[in-house]
Amino acid sequence: MSSRALSLWGGRLLTILTIAGIGVTLLPYFWMLSSSLKTSSEVFELPVRWLPREPQWSNYPAALSRGAFGVYFFNSAVVALAVMAGNLLVCSLAGYGLAKFRFPYRELSFRAILSTLMLPLEIVLVPTFLVVRGLGLVNSYGGLIIPLAVDAFGIFLMRQYIKDLPDSLIEAARLDGCSERGIFWRIILPNCKPALGALALLTFRDNWDQFLWPLIVASKDTLKTFPLGLAQMEGIDSAAYHEIMAIAVIAMIPTAIIFLFFQRAFVRGIALSGLKE
């Protein structure tokens, strides 16, 4: 076969695979949405119904009333936003320090910081819990937020990005008599927007659905995050999938919006940070 024909067929195959891939990727979403509008008996009907006979919009308010979901979503938002803010601030500070300054043990600090990426929370769950208890933060917003407020990934990202900023900018500002603090706020941060954007998105997404840490730290119902509410709902009545899916759909809205509107900035942010060792 000529190479042109080959590439034509190759192109067609690629298209088919792409469409199939999209199908597989989106199937859970479709299923989630469709199930959220079914009645409780349609949900497990055999043979499987792809679409509800009549959309049950009432599932949504019914599901929300199964637990204090208003509070839960609020808490998730608070945690996500606060942790995001914490990360944005502290990680860019640290990234700047590691990228543009020289001080003893700088590289060691950086490697030590990176090594914390290898620590899943589950490993240090109990000692971290003990620390939080020692600080008197159990069962409080502080306990939910502070331990998560800094993550090595953000430091890594910001350092990579800031490294590529031209030194001349900084030196010029110094010559002008700008304080170090001023340089950070007025020169560095404004030039970091793509990386900050990417970090904001990732941090928000990772913390919007915090489950394990709130499970351990929060026992008051008023402090629970929505994943706890969902798990509780499923644990109590796992047959009520239509309502569970309704909550799942609602839970997706913030991250979906963010990704719809900010995905380009996100990709650029990752790209421009280079990710070189």
Partner: protein, 301 residues
């Protein structure tokens, strides 16, 4: 928070020293946080691994007994291998499929923004939602079996059958990981200046050769990053086994983090859980080092 110093100058110190301090102070908040919430717990976990502690009565020193118990516990070994199978079962396909995805999306394709969106959506789905939706889809009476039934495959109880439970979870891991790592690869691909590819074509290289000799070498840092991050994040997986299978059936989805959680919080054997955690950490550390070494030899710029 970075302290407000209005009008502070250090006139007596040289610029060099001043900058030194400034750098350190910038990094200080992060370091403090990590020391309190990561390093200290890590050290504590190490210390606890030498004690018997049931969370409710004070810890009792126990020497290396916990390590011996963990080592002699067949459930620990089972969990270790479940984790290894999961980690590589998820990561290795991710490396290739995410790369393929990125290459695909990098071509000019009609409807690219839409396709891109579709592939990236799984990133937006919360972990707990992923777990519940897939649990639902894997139900014996659910979608997956229906689709397979259309192709003539009989009803499988995915999450309650030993041979299928772990693969079922692995599939979810891959489904979720490809878009994320695809984005990272895509970003990497897009940062390669066109001139390199053009030069290669001028030299007579075909698409495969261009890939092998231009793209991949230039992308090595990104590839390294993806490899390390995918393994590490697969190692940490915990929510899916917790919500979907509770580690069963017969422990075939009990990954090591789940074993640790169970030993600590259900069985109240904190010391043993800490010992198992140390093993997990050592494994992760060794794995990362090996990867870094291997790829460094492969030629990182």
């Amino acid at each position: 928070m970075f302290q407000q110093r209005v009008g502070w100058r250090w006139p007596s110190l040289s610029l060099q020293t001043r900058l030194c301090w400034a750098g350190f102070l910038f990094v200080l908040p992060a370091l403090l946080h990590l020391i309190v919430f990561k390093f200290y717990p890590m050290v504590e976990a190490f210390r606890l691994s030498f004690y018997k502690y049931d969370l409710m009565t004070p810890p009792v020193f126990h020497g290396v007994e916990n390590y011996k118990t963990v080592w002699n516990n067949p459930l620990f070994h089972q969990s270790f291998w479940v984790s290894v199978k999961y980690m590589f079962g998820v990561s290795v396909p991710e490396w290739f499929l995410a790369f393929a995805l990125a290459l695909l999306l990098n071509r000019g394709m009609p409807g690219r923004p839409v396709i891109r969106l579709a592939y990236f959506f799984p990133i937006a789905m919360s972990q707990i939602v992923v777990a519940l939706v897939w649990k639902f889809m894997y139900n014996p009476l659910g979608v997956v079996n229906t689709l397979l039934g259309a192709v003539g495959i009989g009803r499988i109880n995915w999450l309650a059958t030993e041979q299928s439970a772990l693969p079922a979870l692995i599939l979810i891991g891959i489904w979720r990981g490809i878009p994320l790592f695809g984005v990272i690869y895509l970003a990497g691909l897009q940062s390669i200046p066109k001139e390199y590819h053009e030069a290669a074509t001028v030299d007579g290289a075909g698409p495969w050769q261009s890939l092998r000799h231009v793209t991949i070498p230039l992308l090595t840092p990104t590839i390294l990053f993806v490899m390390v991050m995918s393994l590490l994040s697969a190692m940490k997986v915990f929510l899916n086994p917790l919500v979907m299978t509770e580690g069963g059936p017969n422990g075939t989805t009990r990954v090591l983090p789940y074993f640790i959680y169970e030993t600590a919080f259900a069985y109240h054997r904190m010391g043993e859980a800490a010992a198992a955690s140390m093993v997990l950490f050592a494994f992760a550390f060794a794995l990362t080092l090996i990867q870094l070494r291997l790829l460094r030899r492969g030629g990182v710029e």
